[in-house]
Amino acid sequence: MSAGLGPAPAAPMTTVARPVTQARVVRSEWTKLRGLRSTWCSALAAVMLIVGVGAGFAGGKPYRVSPGHPAVTAVSVSLFGILIAQLVIGVLGVLVFSGEYGTGMIRASLAVVPSRLPVLWAKLAAVAGLVLPVTLLAAVADFFVATAIQSARGGTAIALTDPGVLRTVIGASLYLTAAAVIGVGLGGLLKKTAAGISAFAALFLVAPVVATYLPHSIAAIAPYLPSSAGGALWGQPLVAHPLGPWAGFAVLCGYAVLLTGLAAWRLRRRDA
């Protein structure tokens, strides 16, 4: 192919295309995710929010571990930045689909994978494959930065091996990964960036606040909202957790499965 404007000197009827496999579609989606500036801006913003807010809180009153004040509570408080970071991660997830619907690329993507569903699974895999390690890194960094600042200010030295601490740090990452998956589901379901982000914010931030002002019978659902239920895993300090850490996380995953299922149904049934 030397001549820039020449015709294709291809041998008759040769093709270079091989069958579509799930692994190939994952590579395709990773190429898209990796190639977008917004991906790395979001990832960086999430890390800075988690570590920055953690470091800020650690600069407050020294925390002393006692029978009524377990080590894990200090770690949960230091992860408070998740409440803002989850929005950034949710937007990252929403954009994975809405970015393609908004630009028309979805038609090119689905034309080369006409069975469609592999595109959804690949997007989930690519997003989870990015968000899980990045947020784990952020949570671990947050833990070490916050405990270092606290020890320097006279707080009790807290180790990853203290009861519930490791679960909380890893749980922060699992929580944000599930949030990203929910974002992907909302993006696929609603197609528009603004609608997806609004729905995500409503579900994760507004609903828990509004629920507390509702009549008692309705407010009872509050612990089962995604951010409250999933918050049990990393000990989100703002809400009481009637659910255990893993039960709460299971509820959060239930939302992710439900929304992904709806997105799959929509992707499969509707015109692109």
Partner: protein, 303 residues
């Protein structure tokens, strides 16, 4: 090969495509013509499995396209120049599509070169002009060396160099035995590129013909003649069914006879002719005529 049988797409009460049946053969360039809103793009989206037909079937190379194991080997499609991600570079746009079929960077670089995008591969597609976006879309359609290529308005926004490039490219793809199907509403462009024509109006098939037949029909139209002997030539051409009009600048517009007949008549009468041109616009007029008829027919039928 593309086989379309009884294809219908309804949006509510309105049929965008209505009982369409035709075959696009391999080895030739087939043009898909019709006014805006005739259903060309909807048909092409159904070929690619993006829109689901209300009824009827589409087969690409004899297969049900959405069920193909290696879709990029079967069909390459350009739907519109904006089917790219503006935040991704030209190369990453192509690479993302290529990855789904296990196509490597070397082939991506080949189509980049082929489309004349070598200097902008790293630039984000969002900054591309319509013409550059069009080249990127054509490059994407060729990635898998597909047996069938479907292009929706590929010359839109291209400069003359790009138009010529598309024309040669499509002809060479057809010579390799591939099926080439492109839409346009520019009849004159189509006449230079396509061999076969499928003409659509209001979602229905108006004609499935060869360009030669279509032009033959159109050439029964006007011929422009520039001559210093306008009055004598008009007299020489006079006959039943022949009309000659003049705008007074020495150019006659003659209808009812062919260019060959006019040239012969002028030669016999020893009249100089400086220019003898079958009016190019008449091709488009013929196209307008057939599509207008279909619209009227359609309106009459629903009344």
């Amino acid at each position: 090969m593309i086989e379309i049988d009884g294809l219908t797409k309804r949006y509510g009460d309105k049929a965008a495509v209505d009982g369409l049946s035709f075959v696009v053969e391999p080895g030739v360039v087939t043009g898909f013509l019709g006014p805006n809103g005739a259903g060309k793009s909807t048909t092409m989206r159904m070929i690619a499995g993006l829109d689901r037909p209300t009824s009827g079937t589409v087969r690409v190379n004899g297969k049900h396209y959405p069920g193909c194991a290696a879709p990029m080997a079967e069909l390459g499609i350009l739907l519109d120049a904006r089917s790219v991600h503006p935040g991704l570079s030209a190369r990453n746009n192509l690479l993302a599509l290529a990855r789904t079929a296990g196509i490597g960077r070397r082939r991506v670089d080949e189509v980049i070169e082929l489309a004349g995008l070598a200097e902008v591969t790293g630039a984000r597609a969002g900054g591309f002009s319509l013409g550059m976006g069009q080249r990127l879309g054509v490059a994407a359609a060729l990635l898998g060396r597909p047996q069938t290529v479907v292009l929706d308005e590929p010359v839109n926004g291209l400069d003359p160099d790009g138009v010529r490039w598309i024309r040669q490219l499509l002809k060479s793809l057809a010579e390799e035995g591939r099926t080439v199907f492109l839409s346009s509403h520019l009849m004159s462009e189509m006449a230079q590129t396509a061999t076969r024509l499928v003409i659509l109006g209001r979602g229905k098939l108006i004609a499935e013909t060869s360009v030669d037949d279509f032009i033959g029909r159109a050439e029964a139209g006007d011929v422009l003649v520039r001559t210093p002997e306008a009055v004598s030539l008009s007299r020489a051409l006079a006959g039943p069914g022949v009309t000659v009009t003049s705008d007074g600048s020495g150019v006659l517009r003659v209808s009812g006879v062919t260019a060959e007949q006019i040239g012969t008549a002028a030669w016999r009468a020893h009249l100089p002719v400086f220019e003898l041109t079958p009016a190019q616009a008449s091709l488009e007029e013929a196209f307008m005529q057939v599509t207008r008829d279909s619209v009227e027919y359609h309106a009459g039928a629903t009344r």
